[in-house]
Amino acid sequence: MKTWLRNHLLAGCILALSLAVGGMAYAETAAAPAQPAAAPAPPATAELREAAAKAPTPADLAKGDPGGTLTGNVADITVTDAKAGPTMADAGNQIGQNKIAINFVWTLVCGFLVMFMQAGFAMVESGLTRVKNANHTYMMNFFVYGCGLLAYWVLGFAIQMGGAAGNANLGGLYPLASEHSITLFGKTWGIFGETGYFLAGHAYDVGVMVIFLFQMVFMDTALTIVTGACAERWKFITFSVTSIIMGALTYPLFANWAWGGGWLSQLGANLGLSHGYADFAGSGVVHSVGGLSALAVCLIIGPRLGKFNRDGSPNPIIGHDISAVLIGCFILAFGWFGFNPGSTLGASSNGNLRIGSIAVATMLAGCTGTFGAILYMWISKGKPDASMSGNGLLAGLVAITAPSGFVSAPNAAIIGLIAGVLVCVSVYFVENVLKVDDPVGAISVHCTNGLWGVLAVGLFADGTSNYGGSWNGVPGSVTGLFYGDAGQLAAQLVGISTLLGVVFTLSFAINMVLEYVIGHRVSAETELNGLDIPEMGQLGYPEFVFRPEISYSKAA
């Protein structure tokens, strides 16, 4: 009791002394405007000014700085009053701006890498299709960028990110502060964003521009998945219209629910499902959305002529350029270093130094995915199939996309290995059981493994990440079932159910309407002749001499 009293008396004295000193300081501050020159500078500010006085002069710098020890010093701090010199407030502002600048540059550069993935997709998809459709396939991959960008600018971004304010990495994104919500069972659930149309008004903001660029290239990745699955028989006009609708509506809606403050991200805060749906870089948001849309269109459009025999057995239709496929896969793997590590949306503070771990997890999962597919094909079919090896790499990368921010290197390797095997099994299932023709394996790579990646978060997240101390507004780290949190697995399963039940259905309904209005499929004549001339007006390889295919010649 005596100790308690003594401690509290001591604390009281300290508090009283502090208040008295504070009061005096306040009095000094209040008096300061009357005689600013008389107020002594705080020690730290004095130290700053002393350092500024000693800083290298322009004359010193004019001699060159080969060692890099003179360039960048206290004299480079932006000051509010040049005569007074740098103050602590100036230094603080500079530090804050540097943090945001680092995060801006990081996010933008990663966005540029993701944008370059379009080239990889174009090469993979075109390489896996026949030479008579090369121009058409390349053009779909080219134009999907424009269609998606336009749609996302006018509407999609507002739906996805219109209520996503509060990101400390990018300066708060405060202009994006309007989420349309509904109240259900006594809880408020975000449905779609409402600000940022055309990036006009308050959305004309430096931070908003950065997040727009980054999210836009993600959206475009989802769109380009569909072009591969429906290659060699898709009308260019219908592809263009469906890409615009997907970029404006289908993708942004789910992305809002997961990333823009929508209801899936609120499952933790509202229903106690751990941290809510967690999808670090988009196995679900990007790849499953793209893959499920691809499945929906593939069902509607039907298989290519010649893909299935009358007994339902599939025929292999070999692509024209395996070198393009494998180089394209490498470009995609390179771009993935923007996709996953970039999804921290910053490199400075808030636990963002985890970018190295995320990059390594990405790299490892791609590697083990390749091993999984190569070994599966080699053991089961006798050859290490090149196109499936490429798909194995991509499957590993797709699967690690959601968990990359939450898992250790060994777990990343396991996730990738499973993905590599899964993609081979899924390709077999899609072709032989569903009788769906997917020329590039996009459904298996992106849909199947995207869903696997979402599930993997709920299993393998190890609870060591710390992105500002919370995720989706719930304090603590995302932790999966194997590390003791079953709630996270439940949240991930709700996300998967939403992808299957809402995203697929919405995409299917939209494309059924387009089937009624425009029609998805080219005529049989166009398909047999190749889509390059009828749809594009130009052959992809005009100097190639087409010869009758061997099997046809034999049959004839």
Binding site: I244, L305, K435, A490, S551, A556
Partner: protein
């Protein structure tokens, strides 16, 4: 028909209509916004009418009509799975229970997606049909080469001129 000037025109109309519609949504609180919304919608309808008008010019595709109701039923089953998951979240409080309910919902959705829909679309798949039953059914396959039965069997089909 393949790509044509009219396709390009109606696509242009679609893009303009969509952009105007979105401008209307963006400024829906104002009178101008409401007007833009109406104008945009009208342009979109006009483009849809145009697309419908030129659709028959595409020529015969190999896809045969299949049961429409079954397709929409499949989509409905997918949606039902999601609704079951959502309902279960509010009926069950434990994590284990919610996992089971979500798995059930996923199972229902997968049934719609991987069973009902493929059955609906493959019921009358063109690759199942023998050459003589219809012009469209003339399409079949030779390994690695898409072709027509008529090319191999000389059976008369509507696509005979394609060679």
């Amino acid at each position: 028909m393949a790509a044509s000037k009219s396709q390009g025109s109606y696509f242009g109309l679609f893009v303009v209509g969509g952009t105007v519609l979105c401008a209307g949504i963006a400024y829906i609180a104002t009178g101008t916004g409401k007007l833009l919304l109406l104008v945009g919608a009208a342009i979109l309808v006009a483009s849809a009418v145009g697309f419908l008008k030129i659709k028959p010019l595409e020529g015969e595709t190999p896809v045969l009509p299949s049961p429409e109701s079954m397709k929409w039923l499949g989509a409905g089953v997918c949606l039902l799975g999601w609704l079951a998951t959502l309902g279960g979240l509010h009926l069950v409080n434990s994590n284990g229970g919610r996992i089971v309910v979500a798995l059930l919902g996923i199972g229902v959705s997968l049934f719609g997606m991987l069973y009902v829909l493929p059955v609906a679309f493959n019921k009358t798949a063109f690759w199942k049909k023998p050459a003589a039953t219809s012009a469209r059914a003339g399409f079949s396959s030779v390994a690695g080469r898409a072709t027509l039965d008529s090319e191999l069997t000389a059976a008369p089909t509507a696509m005979g001129g394609m060679k």
